[in-house]
């Protein structure tokens, strides 16, 4: 029941998000507005309890949700045969660039947990 109530909250907030995004022509997609609304609503205990179950379930199976879109690769076979090698190269190299930059920047900015003085240097 909590799970169902959680799903109702998520869908409700997504709908309000869509309405706000369209109505005010915000630059965000509706679900992103819904996410921000959820962050505001989570301070209220009944919402947090209901959403916890449903959100954990959805997020732990997140990768399943990408399968239908991924299969859509088959509709772009001509584009792929024409540019496939180059597109793949771009995707691989730019993903590595993103991963390396993010990891190194955060790692350098985080002080070692055992040595709090490091932050003062």
């Amino acid at each position: 029941m909590q799970g169902l109530r959680g799903l109702a909250w998520l869908l409700g907030l997504q709908s309000v998000g869509e309405l706000l995004a369209r109505g005010l022509s915000l630059p965000f997609p509706g679900p992103v507005v819904g996410m921000v609304l959820l962050l505001m609503a989570l301070g209220w205990a009944p919402v947090a309890e209901a959403v916890a179950v449903c959100a954990d379930f959805l997020l732990s199976h997140l990768s399943l949700l990408f399968v239908p879109v991924g299969v859509g690769v088959m509709t772009h076979l001509t584009l792929l045969s024409q540019y496939g090698g180059r597109m793949l190269l771009v995707i691989i190299l730019s993903t590595w660039a993103g991963l390396a930059v993010t990891a190194l920047v955060l790692f350098k900015l985080t002080s070692p947990p055992a040595n709090n003085d490091a932050e003062l240097r």
Partner: protein
């Protein structure tokens, strides 16, 4: 007894087919992945996508017919994006304490990913609409589609690029982080997870979550931040450039 071909033609045209095929294939791929001790190459999304696409191409079932059923799973991406607020909320103390550096890492990583994609793609002579579909590729698929639409890319292509990006991150992250000599402590795991969530969105975050709890939490945080930042900054940036 009715002809097998006739039965197949009937079944493959109903929405039940796309939905069932997606779920069963994924459950099997997930079982193989666990059996292979979660080796990156055994990624369940990679094998589900390629085997379903292969079956559809071989049997001549068009993608829209498949999607008529698979859309019920696809639809859940919306509430899943809303649900990303939950891991952010759980880590709110950390977020409040470290928002500065997390924001810097998120912006730096996101810009590096889409900037290098644009520069490389331009150098390799990719057409403009393909380039614009590559730009939001490190953001989770449903949001990448929305951004691509706003900046003049092809939403369906952007979604495919996003899924491929997630797979590249999930498959190769482990080796890349080893090359970068990140340590195996909470600081190192945090950086790994945050990088996977930033550059390889949901598929990278799913991988991080399976490998280490610290990495998983940071990945969820990074995913949410990237979604907010990219959907705010990218359309704005492209509007200024255009």
């Amino acid at each position: 007894m009715p002809n097998f071909v006739e039965l197949w033609v009937y079944l493959s045209a109903t929405p039940l087919f796309g939905l069932t095929a997606t779920l069963i294939t994924y459950v099997l791929a997930q079982a193989v992945y666990l059996r292979m001790h979660q080796a990156p190459w055994a990624n369940p999304v990679l094998w589900s996508v390629s085997s379903i696409a292969a079956v559809l191409l071989l049997t001549g079932v068009p993608y829209p017919t498949y999607f008529a059923g698979a859309q019920f799973i696809h639809f859940l991406l919306g509430p899943a994006v809303v649900a990303l607020g939950w891991p952010m909320w759980q880590r709110r103390a950390e977020l409040r304490q470290r928002w500065g550096r997390l924001l810097i890492a998120s912006v730096a990583g996101g810009s590096a990913a889409s900037g290098s994609a644009l520069a490389l793609g331009w150098a390799l002579d990719l057409p403009a609409d393909v380039l614009l579909s590559l730009a939001p590729k490190s953001v989770t698929a449903p949001v990448a589609m929305g951004i691509a639409e706003k900046i003049g890319g092809i939403p369906a292509l952007a979604a495919v690029f996003a899924v491929l990006t997630g797979l590249v991150g999930a498959l190769s992250g482990k080796y890349l982080f080893a090359v970068l000599r990140l340590p195996y402590d909470s600081r190192g795991w945090g950086a790994r997870g945050f990088a996977l969530g930033t550059a390889a969105h949901g598929i990278g975050a799913a991988r991080a979550l399976q490998v280490n709890a610290d990495a998983g939490a940071y990945a969820g945080l990074a995913l949410g931040l990237q979604v907010v930042l990219a959907s705010l900054l990218m359309p704005l940036l492209f509007r200024l450039l255009a």
